[in-house]
């Protein structure tokens, strides 16, 4: 597939009085991509979306679509549509009239509008709702109508502002799958805003993690989860143990780190070059930590430590063990409950050993 750049955001800034909502943000979004802006509330992701949609103007920088600036164009002249958090269906129009709205605004002939509305309703599998008013629809149905309305005149770009946050967990998962398939089928570029890291990982081709008005990391989901570039990303995406330490020495991609209170551990496959003596943190996902009464068959490249079970949480599919290590540090580890019922391996207070292989962790600098 040939990759073409659709949207380019060049050092865009936005201030509200003293508050810096966006600080020189730059991004490239490719045609056909499912791109997600992820971050905690107040990180600037919605502000950026509103700038792209044209509801707001940046204080600096430029936004280019197909290489041309769109800053001068009002929202109605930008070839992109937005799905709002509360769907923003027009309450005084029927479902069919809602979907016809963008076509009418584009000056399309009545006959064609009818055909395309019917087609759009079929696409979202709600053909019998045409004459109903939005108030009569369920949350999931409103969602689908909002999508149908936004896609009916084939925008270049679809912006989605936390569109699933109002739905309950079950329905949300179902809509996530629908969104993935929809995007794949129609090939329209999606820019998706969410604060839900799980949703971002599940949906996106690429994710930009934002914090305090800045882009922290832009990457594919696997790399954001596996190779976070900072404490913030490691902590924000999924669950993560952060072990503080200092780099002792590095040979190629193999690093020896002196963990505070624990001693030296070996970290292999490091992509970054670290200066000896620099402060760093080892990020360890709970599922990558082995936990056992006594670690046998320990491989040479494994690090292992003794601790006590401090707490445990039975979650059905897995049990989470919080283990206190020698230095008082709490480490979170998972054990899958493969047999039926609770596979209760350890109790609170039991002595256990934890271990991880040298490629399980990933180092981030302070």
């Amino acid at each position: 597939m040939e990759i073409t750049e659709l949207l380019e955001i060049v050092t865009v800034s936005r201030h509200f009085d003293d508050f810096v909502a966006l600080d020189k943000v730059s991004l490239h979004i490719e045609a056909g991509e499912f791109f997600t802006l992820l971050g905690p509330s107040g990180c600037g992701k919605t502000t950026l979306l509103r700038l792209i949609a044209g509801f707001d103007q940046p204080d600096g920088g430029d936004i280019l679509l197909d290489g041309k600036t769109i800053l001068a164009a009002p929202p109605e002249r930008r070839p992109l549509h937005t799905i709002f958090q509360n769907y923003a269906l027009f309450p005084h129009m029927t479902v069919a009239e809602n979907i016809a709205f963008p076509l009418r605004m584009a000056g399309i002939a009545k006959k064609e509008i009818q055909a395309r509305v019917a087609e759009a309703l079929d696409d979202v599998r709600l053909p019998d709702k045409a004459r109903q008013y939005p108030d009569a629809l369920s949350g999931g149905q409103k969602q689908r109508i909002a999508i149908a309305r936004a896609l009916v005149n084939r925008p270049r770009l679809l912006l989605l502002d936390e569109p699933l946050s109002a739905l309950d967990a079950k329905l949300r998962e179902q809509m996530q799958i629908e969104l993935i398939n929809l995007q794949k089928d129609i090939g329209i570029t999606f820019i998706y805003v969410t604060h839900d890291q799980g949703e971002a990982l599940a949906l996106s081709h690429r994710i930009a993690v934002m914090d305090c008005g800045k882009i922290v990391q832009v990457d594919v989901p696997e790399r954001l989860y596996g190779v976070p570039n900072s404490r913030f990303v490691a902590d924000f995406i999924g669950k993560c143990n952060l072990l503080e330490g200092r780099v002792r020495e590095q040979q190629g991609d193999s690093v020896i780190v002196e963990l505070d209170g624990l001693g030296p551990v070996h970290v292999c496959r490091s992509e970054t070059k670290f200066a000896a003596g620099s402060r760093c943190a080892l990020t360890l996902r709970p599922e990558k930590i082995r936990i056992a009464a006594a670690i046998v068959n320990s491989a040479d490249d494994e690090s292992h430590f003794t601790g006590h079970v401090h707490d445990l949480l039975y979650l059905g599919d897995v049990t989470v063990y919080i283990v206190t290590l020698a230095n008082g540090l709490l480490l979170e580890a998972l054990l899958a409950n493969s047999a039926s019922g609770r596979t209760n391996f350890f109790e609170v207070g039991d002595q256990v050993e934890v271990a991880w292989s040298c490629d399980a962790g990933h180092l981030v600098l302070d």
Binding site: F55, P75, T82, A88, P91, F101, M105
Partner: protein, 257 residues
């Protein structure tokens, strides 16, 4: 507990009696077959018949309807614009300027308008009354419209723009239809305020431009005749219908939200 309830019911009944007994008396005596509002003699429609043959009364009623219709129409347009502006600018001063006439004593409004009309050498008549009524109705319409706007999702306007509507089409196709219940409620309120206004009308009316309330007043100066009861009953009925329709259209305004 029981006793408390009984007391509550009695006091409530007394309050409602105090509020509505006079109105009930007017309605009852408008059907009384006697010239005196003293005792019930028998049922008759004749005072209503007389009313429709009283030329002065008919002229006054016509004047009232014309004034109320025109004032309500003009005040609705201006009040709607004021309501929109109030919501958009959020300036305290603008709010105060639009809403002050509501709180201003009517007698003050009447006197000041009279002074103004005389200063600009305007003949007092239907036109001067209409101008006066428009002045005090704008605020009420603006309030009704503003209540409606503040209950509207601002995202709808953005959604319309996003889907390709110019600001004007967005106003026509989204904002205006959604505000319509508030606008109509404001219009009906303006109509009822205008049709039964006495004080301001009294100051701004001229010779031959008597309205229904002025006509009733001049008749009452002699005695409260059954015709007065009849015309009052009709006026009450009209107001009641209009207010009911208005409150249906815009419950928020009447709940004071």
């Amino acid at each position: 507990m029981q006793r408390k309830n009984v007391l509550l019911w009695i006091s409530a009944a007394l309050v409602y009696l105090f509020l509505y007994l006079p109105l009930v008396i007017v309605v009852v005596f408008s059907f009384n077959d006697s010239r005196l509002n003293a005792e019930w003699v028998g049922f008759t429609w004749k005072w209503y018949g007389k009313l429709f043959h009283n030329q002065e009364m008919l002229t006054a009623a016509m004047n009232s309807l014309i004034i109320a219709g025109v004032s309500a129409a003009v005040a609705t347009v201006l009040g709607t614009l004021a309501g929109l502006a109030m919501e958009q600018s959020r300036q305290r001063l603008l709010q105060m300027l639009v809403l002050a006439p509501i709180a201003m004593p009517e007698i003050l409004m009447g006197v000041s308008l009279l002074v103004l009309f005389i200063m600009v050498n305007m003949t007092l008549g239907l036109l001067s009354i209409m101008l006066a009524h428009i002045t005090f109705c704008i605020g009420f319409v603006a309030l009704a419209v503003q209540a409606r706007i503040s209950s509207m999702d601002p995202g709808l306007v953005e959604a319309a723009r996003d889907l390709g509507a110019s600001p004007w089409r967005c106003f026509r196709e989204i904002t205006l239809p959604l505000l319509m219940p508030g606008i109509l409620a404001g219009a009906l309120m303006a109509f009822t305020l205008s049709i039964d206004d006495f004080v301001i009308t009294f100051f701004t009316a001229g010779v031959g431009s008597s309205t229904l309330p002025l006509q009733i007043y001049s008749m009452v100066k002699i005695a409260v005749t059954p015709e007065v009861n009849a015309v009052s009953t009709l006026l009450m009925l009209l107001t009641l219908v209009v207010i009911t329709v208005a409150s249906r259209l815009s419950p928020a305004v009447f709940r004071g939200e």
